[in-house]
């Protein structure tokens, strides 16, 4: 019963808004705001399953490749910079500058070197995503408890063991926080790079639909991008919960809860 009430509170407003949208747009003559009914019809036709194969999956593949490169590189470089202080202080200005550069500003230059195809999109996504991971990974390494460092020293752990058993676990919560931010801007970078680049994808589809006066297609594209962003975020949360289960347990324990 409690669960039912909880779910009811969570879903009533979205449902009301959908119903309002449905009826308000039912006889819409405004070409930019077609009836919701038409949009859904069109979405069904588009995304099950041809469009998914042709546009959504390639988009996701590019995002996955670029994002995973960024997370891996950001984590590794972050561990290095976090561990080697003189290197961190020497590179800090450049890291700060690059992470402050709006990712989209990198696109013309990336396209200069890599053209407008797949590689351009993957490089753009990776370039945009790596900074939050990198900065959080550096901070994560810095936040390792001094006692743990002492333990590692007195047990004469090798560098590999330190990374595996001390640095990575301590930095993991922060790295995940960075990776979550990176995912959100990764989806933006994916969309924007596809709008500029050639060769399909959800971003390309959406922009193309609007220039082709296909307004139900445009709305379907926007909704699909929203759904993709939402699902990716939920997936990420699930992965984070699994990987960091020990961390949440620890936090709950230290705060006096039982788990």
């Amino acid at each position: 019963m409690k669960l039912v009430r909880h779910v009811a509170w969570e879903i009533w407003l979205p449902i009301v808004l959908l119903v309002v949208w449905w009826f308000a747009s039912a006889d819409s003559m405004n070409t930019y705001f077609p009836p919701l009914h038409d949009i859904l019809e069109r979405s069904k036709e588009l995304w099950f399953w041809q469009g998914t194969r042709e546009d959504v999956l390639p988009s996701l593949r590019r995002l996955a490749v670029g994002y995973l490169i960024a997370v891996a590189a950001g984590t590794l470089v972050g561990l290095l910079l976090g561990g080697v202080h003189w290197l961190e202080s020497a590179t800090r200005p450049y890291v700060e500058f690059l992470r402050s550069t709006p990712g989209i500003a990198l696109m013309p230059l990336v396209s200069l070197v890599f053209g407008l195809g797949d590689l351009f999109k993957i490089v753009t996504i990776a370039l945009v995503c790596c900074w939050p991971v990198l900065l959080n990974s550096i901070d994560g390494v810095h936040s390792v408890e001094p006692q743990l460092r002492d333990v590692a020293t007195s047990y004469r752990l090798t560098t590999a063991e330190r990374v595996r058993f001390i640095l990575l676990p301590s930095a993991a919560p922060q790295i995940f926080a960075g990776a979550r931010t990176a995912l959100a801007i990764g989806v933006i970078a994916m969309t924007a790079s596809e709008m500029i680049g050639i060769g399909g994808g959800l971003g390309y589809f959406t922009l193309n639909a609007s220039t082709a006066f296909d307004y139900t297609g445009l709305w379907s594209g926007i909704i699909a991008l929203g759904v993709v962003g939402y699902i990716l975020n939920k997936l990420f949360a699930a992965v984070e919960r699994t990987v960091l289960a020990w961390h949440y347990g620890l936090v709950a324990h230290s705060q006096g809860g039982t788990r």
């Binding site: 509170w9 969570e10 202080s89 402050s100 013309p108 200069l112 969309t191 939402y230």
Partner: protein, 283 residues
């Protein structure tokens, strides 16, 4: 979900815990060695840049450091450069301000009631995960090309972190604090000044920082893709004919981002000087 699992933005203290181990050692270092590292790093970066411009970027006319400096020296004397900077800043700041005016009060209202949080959870979660650029084609159709369109997109992108952080800020005020102010009959004005505002500030400043970088990002993107006057359009127009200028515009966008970030961090430090995350930092 966004309430139970701490979103990335809502960890104001994270950066602070970092300074314990590393920074102190850095501060103690003699200045000479640090300066040496700086120069060394600069040399390495310039060498890498030169190598890249010669090797991979040669056919793409990627500028070498010297060429970049020369182009920059030329561009800063043109009015087009400064109007681009001004337009971008104006668009970004307008969007950012509107997002703050909408997002913070709305987030606070939602944060007051557990039911309001539950009711809006899905909408907020969905809204913040829509890649804001997806709305660009629609925004162009409805609002046409121009600043209004860019500002709308910025508001849509930047409002979420502010809203989520404001919700979080209100929701985390402990019942004890509320009971204490009631028991001591502290006046509403003083409650806000001495209890609620300080406890919300760390969350709000984090939200503001995230929102500011989103604002700049979306401003440049909207300019680039939607041909709104500003750095983005300058970048796009020059990319075919004059890659060196494109590069300088990119550096300019980066510099604006950096300055914005520095300004907000300084503000955060000033407002939150008492907070554990800011203590012990070199001022």
């Amino acid at each position: 979900m966004s309430i139970s699992t701490t979103p990335a933005e809502s960890r104001p203290a994270s950066a602070g815990s970092a300074s314990r181990g590393g920074r102190q050692r850095l501060v103690a270092r003699p200045h000479l060695a640090t300066a040496g590292q700086r120069v060394g790093a600069l040399v390495v970066v310039l060498a890498l840049w030169l190598w890249f411009a010669r090797a991979k970027g040669a056919n793409a006319d990627f500028p070498t450091p010297v060429e970049a400096v020369r182009t920059f020296a030329h561009l800063v004397t043109t009015s087009a450069y400064w109007s681009g900077v001004g337009e971008t800043l104006l668009t970004a700041v307008m969007g950012f301000a509107i997002a703050a005016v909408i997002g913070i009060p709305l987030g606070m209202l939602i944060g007051i009631s557990r039911r309001a949080q539950l009711s809006t959870q899905f909408l907020v979660d969905f809204g913040r995960n829509i890649p804001v650029i997806a709305l660009l084609p629609l925004a162009i159709l409805v609002l046409h090309l121009g600043r209004t369109m860019a500002v709308f997109l910025i508001v849509f992108g930047a409002v979420w972190p502010l809203l989520v952080q404001a919700t979080y800020a209100v929701a985390q005020i402990t019942p004890q604090a509320r009971q204490v102010v009631r028991a001591f009959r502290i006046s509403p004005l003083e409650r806000i000044r001495f209890v609620y505002a300080p406890s919300m500030m760390p969350f709000l400043t984090t939200g503001l920082r995230v929102a500011a970088s989103i604002s700049l990002l979306v401003a440049v993107t909207a300019e680039y893709l939607g041909r709104v006057p500003g750095l983005g359009v300058a970048m796009r127009d020059s990319s075919d004919t004059d890659p060196h200028a494109t590069f300088v515009y990119m550096l300019t966008a980066g510099a604006i981002g950096l300055l914005l970030n520095i300004a907000l961090v300084a503000l955060q430090r000033r407002v939150l000087w008492w907070h554990p995350s800011q203590r012990g930092k070199v001022r």
